[in-house]
Symmetry: C2
Subunit: 194 residues, 2 copies
DNA sequence: TGCGAGGTAGACAGAGTGGTCTACTTTTTT
DNA sequence: AAAAAAGTAGACCACTCTGTCTACCTCGCA
């Protein structure tokens, strides 16, 4: 069956996300999961193939989460509000589907690899585009600048929450800023009218 | 003399920034710089000490650059405008002091290490706080939310420009958005009045 | 002329890496 | 009950990693 395969991907994702991909060796994944090395190489051609499977799984999980977060928003303001309060909940460990927060797995991963044409980096780019499109689909207005601005602040919030650490004010301050700001200032005033 | 030491730090910083710290071994730094291994370990106790020296040098360079960028701004709006147009120039390779753009060295580094109490991660946090204070010093208003918002968008812009790659619209769109937005909407309206 | 500081070259140790392979056991299917 | 499929344990290979060590060289200075 593919139970073992799934166990490998789950374990790999957990360890990669927590520690970074280059810091985690195949043997550690095998020790933690309890799976034999032979089995791993029956399912995956190489470590890179396992990394790609972990990225894919994380993307699926994140996309599904984001979809449910944004579903039901009645206005663009509500989209922004829902998004940033969900992000804040994630930063504080309140989104069990996403696990303990340690930044964006794809940003982290792209910091570890330099070959821009590698499958791994291409997948990271793909994730960001796909995420952007999910948000776009939930917005009423087709304003590209609004979409850009939302994505920009989303990335900034994730990175800041990660790098600022737990005992830093920026974390709560910034995300509460996001939630506070939106309902007061209309998005059209806030962004477009070039 | 410390010529060799400086050469080692320069080489290490270049390679670390371009490829990630865990992807670059001591031997590669030695090959590229042409320095002997014995000499490296005469100046640095370990690879970690060399990493810290590279982080320190990058921080000094970046802080000096940011200082000159923000100097002379007459208003908070101008601070924001100067900051984001300088960032955009950096993304496009136009800031020779900072070298070729490959994201934020400190964000990238913090993705590779997981021990929050390590000297390396502590230095990355320190860099972000110091950067924040440089910006704060150049702002007229003491509005913490404005400062948070600027830092948030700054991180978002850096990360997006890095991850989106060269052929992605988000890069220019987002940064030009930053520059376009600011002079039209006053910052006080844009941020505070809780 | 000699000495010492600073540097070079590179062998080496010990641990760890991704990946292959043989031999064996367990589980599932027919 | 027998055969086929799936998995285990771990030795092993070739390589890389950080860090140590010996032996030698090349200057400036006295």
């Amino acid at each position: 069956m593919s139970q073992k395969r799934q166990l490998l991907v789950d374990t790999a994702l957990t360890l990669f996300y927590r520690n970074g991909i280059n810091s985690i060796g195949i043997n550690e994944i095998l020790n933690v999961s309890g799976v034999a090395k032979r089995t791993l190489y029956a399912y995956f051609q190489s470590k890179e193939a396992l990394v790609l499977a972990a990225l894919q799984q994380r993307h699926d999980t994140f996309a599904a989460w984001l979809e449910t977060v944004l579903t039901g928003a009645k206005s663009d303001e509500e989209v922004v509000l829902k998004l940033f309060s969900a992000l804040e909940s994630w930063f504080n460990g309140g989104e069990s589907q996403l696990g303990d927060f340690r930044g964006c797995f794809f940003i982290n991963t792209s910091a570890e690899f330099s070959d821009v044409n590698s499958d791994i980096l291409r997948f990271c780019h793909h994730h960001k585009e796909a995420t952007r499109e999910i948000i776009a689909r939930h917005l009423k207005s087709a304003d590209g600048l609004l979409l850009d601005a939302i994505c920009l602040m989303k990335e900034g919030a994730i990175v800041s929450a990660h790098l600022a650490g737990k005992n830093n004010l920026l974390r709560k301050g910034a995300s509460t800023y996001c939630t506070l700001l939106q309902p007061k200032v209309p998005s059209k005033r806030w962004v477009s009218n070039t």
